[in-house]
Symmetry: C2
Subunit: 250 residues, 2 copies
DNA sequence: CGTTTGGTTGAAATGTGTCAAACTTTGTGG
DNA sequence: CCACAAAGTTTGACACATTTCAACCAAACG
Protein backbone atom coordinates (compact mmCIF):
# COMPACT_ATOMS: atom_id res chain seq x y z
CA UNK A 1 0.00 0.00 0.00
CA UNK A 2 1.63 3.24 -1.13
CA UNK A 3 1.56 6.57 0.70
CA UNK A 4 -1.08 8.32 -1.40
CA UNK A 5 -3.69 5.65 -0.83
CA UNK A 6 -2.82 5.51 2.83
CA UNK A 7 -3.35 9.23 3.03
CA UNK A 8 -6.62 9.09 1.19
CA UNK A 9 -7.88 6.36 3.43
CA UNK A 10 -7.03 8.16 6.63
CA UNK A 11 -8.58 11.47 5.72
CA UNK A 12 -11.74 9.92 4.37
CA UNK A 13 -13.89 9.88 7.52
CA UNK A 14 -13.39 13.64 7.79
CA UNK A 15 -14.04 14.28 4.12
CA UNK A 16 -17.13 12.09 4.17
CA UNK A 17 -18.44 14.04 7.13
CA UNK A 18 -17.97 17.43 5.48
CA UNK A 19 -19.43 16.09 2.23
CA UNK A 20 -22.58 15.22 4.13
CA UNK A 21 -23.08 18.95 4.76
CA UNK A 22 -22.21 20.36 1.34
CA UNK A 23 -20.29 19.28 -1.76
CA UNK A 24 -16.61 20.04 -1.51
CA UNK A 25 -14.91 21.70 -4.44
CA UNK A 26 -11.77 20.06 -5.85
CA UNK A 27 -9.80 22.80 -4.18
CA UNK A 28 -11.35 22.11 -0.83
CA UNK A 29 -10.89 18.36 -1.18
CA UNK A 30 -7.24 18.93 -2.00
CA UNK A 31 -6.79 21.27 0.95
CA UNK A 32 -8.20 18.63 3.25
CA UNK A 33 -6.01 15.92 1.73
CA UNK A 34 -2.99 18.13 2.23
CA UNK A 35 -3.82 18.69 5.88
CA UNK A 36 -0.91 17.20 7.84
CA UNK A 37 -2.32 14.50 10.07
CA UNK A 38 -0.40 12.36 12.48
CA UNK A 39 -1.88 8.91 12.76
CA UNK A 40 -1.96 6.91 15.96
CA UNK A 41 -3.61 3.74 17.16
CA UNK A 42 -4.67 3.92 20.78
CA UNK A 43 -5.66 0.99 22.95
CA UNK A 44 -8.99 0.77 24.73
CA UNK A 45 -9.50 2.68 27.99
CA UNK A 46 -6.78 5.25 27.39
CA UNK A 47 -7.25 8.95 27.87
CA UNK A 48 -6.61 10.80 24.62
CA UNK A 49 -6.82 14.23 26.25
CA UNK A 50 -7.53 15.17 29.84
CA UNK A 51 -9.37 17.95 31.64
CA UNK A 52 -6.86 20.72 32.30
CA UNK A 53 -4.74 19.92 29.27
CA UNK A 54 -3.69 22.72 26.93
CA UNK A 55 -3.56 20.86 23.65
CA UNK A 56 -1.62 22.13 20.66
CA UNK A 57 -3.56 19.89 18.33
CA UNK A 58 -7.01 18.47 17.69
CA UNK A 59 -7.87 14.97 16.64
CA UNK A 60 -10.32 13.16 14.40
CA UNK A 61 -11.62 9.70 15.21
CA UNK A 62 -10.92 7.55 12.16
CA UNK A 63 -12.28 4.38 13.72
CA UNK A 64 -13.34 3.15 17.13
CA UNK A 65 -15.47 4.57 19.94
CA UNK A 66 -14.62 7.25 22.48
CA UNK A 67 -16.47 8.95 25.27
CA UNK A 68 -16.17 12.45 26.66
CA UNK A 69 -16.72 12.83 30.36
CA UNK A 70 -16.46 15.08 33.39
CA UNK A 71 -16.11 14.24 37.08
CA UNK A 72 -17.73 15.76 40.14
CA UNK A 73 -15.56 16.71 43.10
CA UNK A 74 -16.33 13.42 44.78
CA UNK A 75 -15.42 11.42 41.73
CA UNK A 76 -18.77 10.60 40.15
CA UNK A 77 -18.44 10.38 36.40
CA UNK A 78 -20.80 11.80 33.82
CA UNK A 79 -20.30 10.92 30.19
CA UNK A 80 -21.49 13.85 28.10
CA UNK A 81 -20.89 12.48 24.62
CA UNK A 82 -19.87 9.46 22.65
CA UNK A 83 -17.46 9.81 19.76
CA UNK A 84 -17.55 7.69 16.61
CA UNK A 85 -15.73 7.64 13.28
CA UNK A 86 -15.60 11.08 11.68
CA UNK A 87 -16.04 13.01 14.91
CA UNK A 88 -13.60 15.63 16.18
CA UNK A 89 -14.53 15.73 19.85
CA UNK A 90 -11.96 18.32 20.93
CA UNK A 91 -12.24 20.71 18.01
CA UNK A 92 -13.06 23.32 20.64
CA UNK A 93 -9.44 23.33 21.80
CA UNK A 94 -8.72 25.40 18.71
CA UNK A 95 -10.32 28.31 20.57
CA UNK A 96 -10.48 27.34 24.24
CA UNK A 97 -7.02 26.96 25.65
CA UNK A 98 -7.76 24.73 28.63
CA UNK A 99 -9.79 21.56 28.19
CA UNK A 100 -12.80 21.22 30.45
CA UNK A 101 -13.37 17.50 29.86
CA UNK A 102 -11.57 14.23 29.38
CA UNK A 103 -11.81 12.08 26.27
CA UNK A 104 -11.16 8.36 26.58
CA UNK A 105 -11.16 5.46 24.17
CA UNK A 106 -13.88 2.86 24.75
CA UNK A 107 -12.33 0.58 22.14
CA UNK A 108 -9.02 0.58 20.30
CA UNK A 109 -9.16 3.70 18.18
CA UNK A 110 -7.36 4.96 15.16
CA UNK A 111 -6.85 8.67 15.63
CA UNK A 112 -5.62 11.44 13.35
CA UNK A 113 -3.97 14.37 15.13
CA UNK A 114 -3.89 17.78 13.44
CA UNK A 115 -1.84 20.65 14.78
CA UNK A 116 -3.77 23.78 15.64
CA UNK A 117 -1.56 25.91 13.42
CA UNK A 118 -2.29 23.71 10.42
CA UNK A 119 -5.98 23.81 11.18
CA UNK A 120 -5.93 27.60 11.56
CA UNK A 121 -4.11 27.79 8.29
CA UNK A 122 -6.72 25.68 6.57
CA UNK A 123 -9.59 27.67 8.08
CA UNK A 124 -8.14 30.99 6.92
CA UNK A 125 -7.56 29.69 3.41
CA UNK A 126 -10.83 27.77 3.05
CA UNK A 127 -13.64 29.76 4.56
CA UNK A 128 -16.28 27.16 3.79
CA UNK A 129 -14.31 24.49 5.57
CA UNK A 130 -13.93 26.77 8.58
CA UNK A 131 -17.69 27.25 8.52
CA UNK A 132 -18.19 23.51 8.34
CA UNK A 133 -15.95 22.97 11.37
CA UNK A 134 -17.81 25.67 13.26
CA UNK A 135 -21.04 23.98 12.28
CA UNK A 136 -19.74 20.68 13.59
CA UNK A 137 -19.12 22.15 17.03
CA UNK A 138 -22.64 23.60 16.97
CA UNK A 139 -24.18 20.22 16.21
CA UNK A 140 -22.20 18.84 19.13
CA UNK A 141 -23.66 21.63 21.27
CA UNK A 142 -27.17 20.74 20.13
CA UNK A 143 -26.57 17.17 21.27
CA UNK A 144 -25.46 18.43 24.71
CA UNK A 145 -28.71 20.33 25.03
CA UNK A 146 -30.68 17.23 24.19
CA UNK A 147 -28.67 15.31 26.79
CA UNK A 148 -29.55 17.87 29.45
CA UNK A 149 -33.19 17.32 28.57
CA UNK A 150 -32.72 13.56 28.51
CA UNK A 151 -31.03 13.38 31.89
CA UNK A 152 -33.14 16.09 33.47
CA UNK A 153 -36.64 15.23 32.34
CA UNK A 154 -36.89 11.62 31.20
CA UNK A 155 -37.07 8.55 33.40
CA UNK A 156 -34.41 5.92 33.14
CA UNK A 157 -36.21 3.71 30.64
CA UNK A 158 -36.95 6.30 27.94
CA UNK A 159 -33.61 7.87 28.71
CA UNK A 160 -31.85 4.65 27.76
CA UNK A 161 -34.03 4.23 24.69
CA UNK A 162 -33.20 7.77 23.65
CA UNK A 163 -29.47 7.32 23.85
CA UNK A 164 -29.67 4.08 21.90
CA UNK A 165 -31.63 5.91 19.20
CA UNK A 166 -29.03 8.63 19.01
CA UNK A 167 -26.21 6.13 18.69
CA UNK A 168 -28.04 4.20 15.99
CA UNK A 169 -28.78 7.28 13.91
CA UNK A 170 -25.24 8.58 14.18
CA UNK A 171 -23.68 5.20 13.46
CA UNK A 172 -25.97 4.76 10.50
CA UNK A 173 -24.89 8.14 9.14
CA UNK A 174 -21.32 6.85 8.89
CA UNK A 175 -22.30 3.46 7.52
CA UNK A 176 -21.92 1.43 10.69
CA UNK A 177 -25.47 0.06 10.85
CA UNK A 178 -26.60 -2.96 8.85
CA UNK A 179 -30.19 -4.07 8.85
CA UNK A 180 -30.96 -2.27 12.11
CA UNK A 181 -28.01 -3.93 13.80
CA UNK A 182 -24.67 -2.55 14.87
CA UNK A 183 -21.64 -3.13 17.04
CA UNK A 184 -22.03 -1.19 20.30
CA UNK A 185 -18.94 -1.70 22.43
CA UNK A 186 -20.37 0.14 25.43
CA UNK A 187 -20.65 -1.53 28.82
CA UNK A 188 -23.63 -1.12 31.10
CA UNK A 189 -21.48 0.90 33.48
CA UNK A 190 -20.67 3.25 30.61
CA UNK A 191 -24.33 3.59 29.69
CA UNK A 192 -25.09 4.31 33.33
CA UNK A 193 -22.51 7.10 33.38
CA UNK A 194 -24.04 8.61 30.27
CA UNK A 195 -27.56 8.47 31.69
CA UNK A 196 -26.79 9.65 35.19
CA UNK A 197 -27.98 6.41 36.79
CA UNK A 198 -26.27 3.51 38.56
CA UNK A 199 -24.94 0.41 36.85
CA UNK A 200 -27.50 -1.70 38.68
CA UNK A 201 -30.34 0.40 37.39
CA UNK A 202 -28.95 0.49 33.86
CA UNK A 203 -28.94 -3.29 33.99
CA UNK A 204 -32.55 -3.44 35.12
CA UNK A 205 -33.69 -1.01 32.46
CA UNK A 206 -31.93 -2.97 29.73
CA UNK A 207 -33.52 -6.18 30.91
CA UNK A 208 -36.93 -4.56 30.80
CA UNK A 209 -36.27 -3.29 27.29
CA UNK A 210 -35.31 -6.81 26.22
CA UNK A 211 -38.45 -8.21 27.85
CA UNK A 212 -40.45 -5.61 25.91
CA UNK A 213 -38.80 -6.75 22.65
CA UNK A 214 -37.52 -3.23 22.13
CA UNK A 215 -33.92 -4.33 21.68
CA UNK A 216 -31.80 -7.42 21.29
CA UNK A 217 -28.53 -6.72 23.02
CA UNK A 218 -25.92 -9.39 23.56
CA UNK A 219 -22.31 -8.59 24.13
CA UNK A 220 -21.36 -5.84 21.71
CA UNK A 221 -24.15 -6.59 19.28
CA UNK A 222 -27.32 -4.52 19.19
CA UNK A 223 -30.32 -5.31 17.02
CA UNK A 224 -33.47 -3.21 16.88
CA UNK A 225 -36.47 -5.25 15.73
CA UNK A 226 -38.81 -2.26 15.50
CA UNK A 227 -37.22 1.11 14.98
CA UNK A 228 -40.45 3.05 15.25
CA UNK A 229 -41.25 1.55 18.61
CA UNK A 230 -37.78 2.29 19.95
CA UNK A 231 -38.02 5.88 18.74
CA UNK A 232 -41.33 6.25 20.47
CA UNK A 233 -40.09 4.68 23.69
CA UNK A 234 -37.17 7.08 23.68
CA UNK A 235 -39.23 10.14 22.72
CA UNK A 236 -36.63 10.49 20.01
CA UNK A 237 -36.78 13.15 17.33
CA UNK A 238 -33.48 13.33 15.46
CA UNK A 239 -33.85 16.95 14.40
CA UNK A 240 -31.33 17.97 17.06
CA UNK A 241 -28.61 15.98 15.32
CA UNK A 242 -28.98 18.28 12.31
CA UNK A 243 -28.28 15.54 9.82
CA UNK A 244 -29.24 16.29 6.29
CA UNK A 245 -30.82 12.91 5.64
CA UNK A 246 -32.83 11.26 8.36
CA UNK A 247 -33.37 7.60 9.05
CA UNK A 248 -35.62 6.21 6.35
CA UNK A 249 -38.97 5.06 7.67
CA UNK A 250 -39.08 2.08 5.31
CA UNK B 1 -29.93 61.69 22.53
CA UNK B 2 -28.57 61.57 18.97
CA UNK B 3 -28.28 58.52 16.78
CA UNK B 4 -24.56 57.88 17.22
CA UNK B 5 -24.76 57.64 20.96
CA UNK B 6 -27.84 55.50 20.68
CA UNK B 7 -25.95 53.19 18.43
CA UNK B 8 -22.95 53.08 20.70
CA UNK B 9 -25.05 52.27 23.68
CA UNK B 10 -26.85 49.43 22.00
CA UNK B 11 -23.80 47.70 20.64
CA UNK B 12 -21.83 48.00 23.81
CA UNK B 13 -22.79 44.73 25.53
CA UNK B 14 -21.52 42.87 22.48
CA UNK B 15 -18.35 44.90 22.20
CA UNK B 16 -17.67 44.55 25.90
CA UNK B 17 -18.06 40.81 25.57
CA UNK B 18 -15.60 40.51 22.70
CA UNK B 19 -13.19 42.89 24.42
CA UNK B 20 -13.10 40.47 27.35
CA UNK B 21 -11.51 37.89 25.03
CA UNK B 22 -9.01 40.08 23.16
CA UNK B 23 -8.49 43.76 22.42
CA UNK B 24 -10.37 44.88 19.37
CA UNK B 25 -8.54 46.98 16.78
CA UNK B 26 -10.11 50.28 15.74
CA UNK B 27 -11.10 48.60 12.50
CA UNK B 28 -12.84 45.79 14.32
CA UNK B 29 -14.61 48.16 16.69
CA UNK B 30 -15.83 50.17 13.73
CA UNK B 31 -17.02 47.05 11.91
CA UNK B 32 -19.02 46.07 14.98
CA UNK B 33 -20.49 49.55 15.34
CA UNK B 34 -21.50 49.47 11.69
CA UNK B 35 -23.27 46.16 12.10
CA UNK B 36 -26.94 46.85 11.36
CA UNK B 37 -28.90 45.92 14.43
CA UNK B 38 -32.64 46.16 14.85
CA UNK B 39 -33.60 46.99 18.39
CA UNK B 40 -36.67 45.66 20.12
CA UNK B 41 -38.03 45.61 23.63
CA UNK B 42 -39.82 42.41 24.47
CA UNK B 43 -42.11 41.86 27.44
CA UNK B 44 -41.57 39.12 29.98
CA UNK B 45 -42.61 35.56 29.17
CA UNK B 46 -42.54 35.97 25.41
CA UNK B 47 -40.86 33.49 23.07
CA UNK B 48 -38.16 35.24 21.06
CA UNK B 49 -37.56 32.23 18.82
CA UNK B 50 -39.16 28.79 18.87
CA UNK B 51 -38.07 25.24 18.22
CA UNK B 52 -38.68 24.51 14.55
CA UNK B 53 -38.15 28.13 13.47
CA UNK B 54 -35.84 28.88 10.56
CA UNK B 55 -34.53 32.28 11.60
CA UNK B 56 -33.01 34.68 9.14
CA UNK B 57 -31.36 36.63 11.92
CA UNK B 58 -29.63 36.20 15.28
CA UNK B 59 -30.04 38.34 18.34
CA UNK B 60 -28.00 39.73 21.18
CA UNK B 61 -29.42 40.30 24.63
CA UNK B 62 -28.72 43.93 25.51
CA UNK B 63 -30.49 43.78 28.85
CA UNK B 64 -32.80 41.42 30.72
CA UNK B 65 -32.87 37.68 31.32
CA UNK B 66 -33.83 34.87 28.96
CA UNK B 67 -33.92 31.12 29.19
CA UNK B 68 -33.41 28.48 26.53
CA UNK B 69 -35.46 25.34 26.88
CA UNK B 70 -36.62 22.13 25.27
CA UNK B 71 -39.73 20.04 25.91
CA UNK B 72 -40.20 16.30 26.10
CA UNK B 73 -42.97 14.66 24.12
CA UNK B 74 -45.24 14.75 27.15
CA UNK B 75 -44.61 18.41 27.78
CA UNK B 76 -42.03 18.41 30.56
CA UNK B 77 -39.76 21.42 30.24
CA UNK B 78 -36.00 21.46 30.66
CA UNK B 79 -34.21 24.77 30.72
CA UNK B 80 -30.74 24.24 29.25
CA UNK B 81 -29.32 27.75 29.62
CA UNK B 82 -29.98 31.19 30.97
CA UNK B 83 -29.18 34.22 28.86
CA UNK B 84 -27.97 37.53 30.25
CA UNK B 85 -26.76 40.83 28.83
CA UNK B 86 -24.14 40.33 26.13
CA UNK B 87 -25.20 36.80 25.23
CA UNK B 88 -26.21 35.70 21.76
CA UNK B 89 -28.14 32.53 22.56
CA UNK B 90 -29.13 31.62 19.00
CA UNK B 91 -25.88 32.41 17.25
CA UNK B 92 -26.00 28.81 16.09
CA UNK B 93 -28.83 29.65 13.68
CA UNK B 94 -26.16 31.17 11.49
CA UNK B 95 -25.15 27.61 10.59
CA UNK B 96 -28.01 25.35 11.66
CA UNK B 97 -31.12 26.14 9.65
CA UNK B 98 -33.77 24.75 11.99
CA UNK B 99 -33.80 25.74 15.65
CA UNK B 100 -33.82 22.86 18.12
CA UNK B 101 -34.81 24.90 21.16
CA UNK B 102 -37.01 27.75 22.28
CA UNK B 103 -35.75 30.98 23.80
CA UNK B 104 -38.06 32.95 26.08
CA UNK B 105 -37.77 36.16 28.04
CA UNK B 106 -37.85 35.80 31.81
CA UNK B 107 -38.00 39.57 32.23
CA UNK B 108 -38.60 42.44 29.85
CA UNK B 109 -35.62 42.34 27.52
CA UNK B 110 -34.00 44.71 25.18
CA UNK B 111 -32.86 42.73 22.16
CA UNK B 112 -30.72 43.55 19.14
CA UNK B 113 -31.49 41.56 16.01
CA UNK B 114 -28.82 41.10 13.36
CA UNK B 115 -29.57 39.63 9.96
CA UNK B 116 -27.60 36.52 9.06
CA UNK B 117 -26.35 38.07 5.85
CA UNK B 118 -24.89 41.03 7.72
CA UNK B 119 -23.28 38.71 10.25
CA UNK B 120 -21.81 36.55 7.49
CA UNK B 121 -20.53 39.66 5.86
CA UNK B 122 -18.86 40.78 9.07
CA UNK B 123 -17.35 37.34 9.68
CA UNK B 124 -15.83 37.16 6.21
CA UNK B 125 -14.35 40.64 6.50
CA UNK B 126 -13.17 40.39 10.11
CA UNK B 127 -11.68 36.98 10.70
CA UNK B 128 -10.89 37.60 14.33
CA UNK B 129 -14.47 38.57 15.06
CA UNK B 130 -15.67 35.42 13.34
CA UNK B 131 -13.29 33.47 15.55
CA UNK B 132 -14.62 35.27 18.61
CA UNK B 133 -18.19 34.37 17.69
CA UNK B 134 -17.17 30.78 17.13
CA UNK B 135 -15.47 30.84 20.50
CA UNK B 136 -18.65 32.16 22.10
CA UNK B 137 -20.64 29.20 20.84
CA UNK B 138 -17.95 26.87 22.19
CA UNK B 139 -18.14 28.41 25.64
CA UNK B 140 -21.89 27.91 25.51
CA UNK B 141 -21.24 24.28 24.62
CA UNK B 142 -18.90 23.92 27.59
CA UNK B 143 -21.68 25.16 29.85
CA UNK B 144 -24.07 22.57 28.41
CA UNK B 145 -21.58 19.85 29.29
CA UNK B 146 -21.35 21.11 32.83
CA UNK B 147 -25.13 21.13 33.02
CA UNK B 148 -25.27 17.50 31.93
CA UNK B 149 -22.88 16.72 34.77
CA UNK B 150 -24.85 18.87 37.18
CA UNK B 151 -28.19 17.30 36.38
CA UNK B 152 -26.82 13.79 35.96
CA UNK B 153 -24.49 13.42 38.90
CA UNK B 154 -25.25 15.96 41.62
CA UNK B 155 -28.08 15.84 44.12
CA UNK B 156 -30.65 18.61 44.18
CA UNK B 157 -28.93 20.67 46.86
CA UNK B 158 -25.47 20.98 45.30
CA UNK B 159 -27.15 21.19 41.93
CA UNK B 160 -28.97 24.33 43.00
CA UNK B 161 -25.85 25.76 44.59
CA UNK B 162 -23.95 25.11 41.39
CA UNK B 163 -26.40 26.94 39.17
CA UNK B 164 -26.44 29.89 41.55
CA UNK B 165 -22.66 30.02 41.37
CA UNK B 166 -22.73 29.99 37.60
CA UNK B 167 -25.25 32.80 37.47
CA UNK B 168 -23.27 34.88 39.94
CA UNK B 169 -20.00 34.50 38.06
CA UNK B 170 -21.58 35.31 34.72
CA UNK B 171 -23.52 38.25 36.06
CA UNK B 172 -20.42 39.54 37.73
CA UNK B 173 -18.52 39.34 34.44
CA UNK B 174 -20.97 41.83 32.93
CA UNK B 175 -21.06 44.08 35.97
CA UNK B 176 -24.40 43.00 37.41
CA UNK B 177 -23.12 41.91 40.84
CA UNK B 178 -22.53 44.35 43.68
CA UNK B 179 -21.03 43.24 46.93
CA UNK B 180 -21.99 39.60 46.39
CA UNK B 181 -25.57 40.59 45.68
CA UNK B 182 -27.56 40.67 42.47
CA UNK B 183 -31.00 40.80 40.95
CA UNK B 184 -32.11 37.28 40.05
CA UNK B 185 -35.53 37.43 38.43
CA UNK B 186 -35.92 33.65 38.28
CA UNK B 187 -38.86 31.91 39.91
CA UNK B 188 -38.54 28.66 41.80
CA UNK B 189 -40.45 26.91 39.02
CA UNK B 190 -37.84 28.16 36.56
CA UNK B 191 -35.02 26.96 38.76
CA UNK B 192 -36.76 23.61 39.01
CA UNK B 193 -36.93 23.35 35.22
CA UNK B 194 -33.24 24.14 34.94
CA UNK B 195 -32.31 21.55 37.56
CA UNK B 196 -34.57 18.75 36.42
CA UNK B 197 -36.52 18.68 39.69
CA UNK B 198 -40.03 19.70 40.75
CA UNK B 199 -41.05 23.13 41.98
CA UNK B 200 -41.84 21.69 45.40
CA UNK B 201 -38.41 20.21 45.71
CA UNK B 202 -36.72 23.36 44.48
CA UNK B 203 -38.55 25.21 47.20
CA UNK B 204 -37.39 22.78 49.88
CA UNK B 205 -33.81 22.92 48.71
CA UNK B 206 -33.80 26.72 48.73
CA UNK B 207 -35.23 26.76 52.24
CA UNK B 208 -32.52 24.41 53.37
CA UNK B 209 -29.88 26.62 51.77
CA UNK B 210 -31.30 29.63 53.61
CA UNK B 211 -31.31 27.69 56.86
CA UNK B 212 -27.66 26.83 56.23
CA UNK B 213 -26.89 30.53 55.70
CA UNK B 214 -25.62 29.75 52.24
CA UNK B 215 -27.84 32.32 50.54
CA UNK B 216 -30.20 35.14 51.31
CA UNK B 217 -32.89 35.08 48.70
CA UNK B 218 -35.97 37.24 48.87
CA UNK B 219 -38.03 38.09 45.86
CA UNK B 220 -35.64 38.90 43.06
CA UNK B 221 -32.74 39.75 45.32
CA UNK B 222 -29.92 37.29 46.01
CA UNK B 223 -27.13 37.86 48.47
CA UNK B 224 -24.29 35.44 49.10
CA UNK B 225 -22.75 35.91 52.53
CA UNK B 226 -19.91 33.45 51.96
CA UNK B 227 -18.88 32.88 48.40
CA UNK B 228 -16.34 30.20 49.21
CA UNK B 229 -18.89 28.13 51.08
CA UNK B 230 -21.41 28.41 48.26
CA UNK B 231 -18.77 27.38 45.74
CA UNK B 232 -17.91 24.38 47.83
CA UNK B 233 -21.55 23.43 48.34
CA UNK B 234 -22.05 23.58 44.59
CA UNK B 235 -18.82 21.77 43.72
CA UNK B 236 -18.28 24.78 41.50
CA UNK B 237 -15.11 25.31 39.48
CA UNK B 238 -15.61 28.12 36.98
CA UNK B 239 -12.99 26.89 34.53
CA UNK B 240 -15.74 25.60 32.23
CA UNK B 241 -17.00 29.16 31.71
CA UNK B 242 -13.67 29.99 30.09
CA UNK B 243 -13.63 33.52 31.44
CA UNK B 244 -10.34 35.27 31.36
CA UNK B 245 -10.62 36.70 34.82
CA UNK B 246 -12.13 34.65 37.63
CA UNK B 247 -14.01 35.79 40.69
CA UNK B 248 -11.50 37.36 43.06
CA UNK B 249 -11.05 35.40 46.28
CA UNK B 250 -10.74 38.55 48.35
C1' DC C 1 -7.75 -22.76 34.21
C1' DG C 2 -7.66 -19.20 37.31
C1' DT C 3 -8.48 -14.29 37.20
C1' DT C 4 -10.60 -10.31 35.69
C1' DT C 5 -14.29 -7.86 33.77
C1' DG C 6 -18.95 -7.35 33.00
C1' DG C 7 -23.58 -8.72 34.05
C1' DT C 8 -27.46 -10.15 37.27
C1' DT C 9 -30.19 -10.51 41.55
C1' DG C 10 -32.63 -9.21 46.09
C1' DA C 11 -33.78 -6.47 50.04
C1' DA C 12 -33.69 -2.33 52.31
C1' DA C 13 -32.82 2.72 52.33
C1' DT C 14 -33.62 7.29 50.44
C1' DG C 15 -34.08 11.23 47.46
C1' DT C 16 -37.43 13.14 44.92
C1' DG C 17 -42.18 13.21 43.01
C1' DT C 18 -47.14 13.72 43.56
C1' DC C 19 -51.21 15.83 45.05
C1' DA C 20 -53.80 19.05 47.21
C1' DA C 21 -54.32 22.86 49.98
C1' DA C 22 -53.11 27.20 52.13
C1' DC C 23 -50.44 31.16 52.31
C1' DT C 24 -48.01 35.39 50.57
C1' DT C 25 -46.71 38.69 47.42
C1' DT C 26 -47.35 41.24 43.31
C1' DG C 27 -49.85 43.58 40.00
C1' DT C 28 -53.98 45.90 38.37
C1' DG C 29 -58.35 47.92 37.45
C1' DG C 30 -62.13 50.17 39.51
C1' DC D 1 -55.81 53.42 47.28
C1' DC D 2 -58.43 49.58 48.11
C1' DA D 3 -59.99 45.08 46.40
C1' DC D 4 -59.38 41.46 43.93
C1' DA D 5 -57.04 38.33 40.91
C1' DA D 6 -53.02 36.19 39.53
C1' DA D 7 -48.62 34.53 40.31
C1' DG D 8 -45.42 32.64 43.23
C1' DT D 9 -44.20 30.26 47.57
C1' DT D 10 -44.82 27.04 51.38
C1' DT D 11 -46.60 22.90 53.79
C1' DG D 12 -47.77 17.90 54.82
C1' DA D 13 -48.59 13.14 53.87
C1' DC D 14 -47.75 9.61 50.96
C1' DA D 15 -46.02 7.16 46.72
C1' DC D 16 -42.40 5.68 43.95
C1' DA D 17 -38.17 5.66 41.08
C1' DT D 18 -33.71 4.95 41.89
C1' DT D 19 -29.73 4.02 44.99
C1' DT D 20 -27.15 1.28 47.99
C1' DC D 21 -24.88 -2.76 49.39
C1' DA D 22 -23.60 -7.19 48.95
C1' DA D 23 -23.45 -11.25 46.78
C1' DC D 24 -23.34 -14.32 42.90
C1' DC D 25 -22.96 -15.65 38.08
C1' DA D 26 -21.18 -15.65 33.23
C1' DA D 27 -18.14 -14.58 29.82
C1' DA D 28 -13.68 -13.19 28.22
C1' DC D 29 -8.81 -13.73 28.38
C1' DG D 30 -3.88 -14.54 29.00
Amino acid sequence: MHAAFQNDYNHSPLIRKLESIFSLTDDEQQALMDLPMQMAVIKADQDIVREGDRPSRCFAILSGFTCTYKLTGDGKRQIVAYGIAGDMPDLQSLHLKVLDMTITTLTPCSIGFVRHEDLWDLCLRQTRIAAAFWRETLVEGAAFREWVLNVGRREAYPRMAHILCELLVRLRAVGLVDNHSCTLPITQAEFADALGITTVHANRVLQQMRADDLIELKGERLHVPDWERLKEAGDFHPAYLHLVQEWPTA
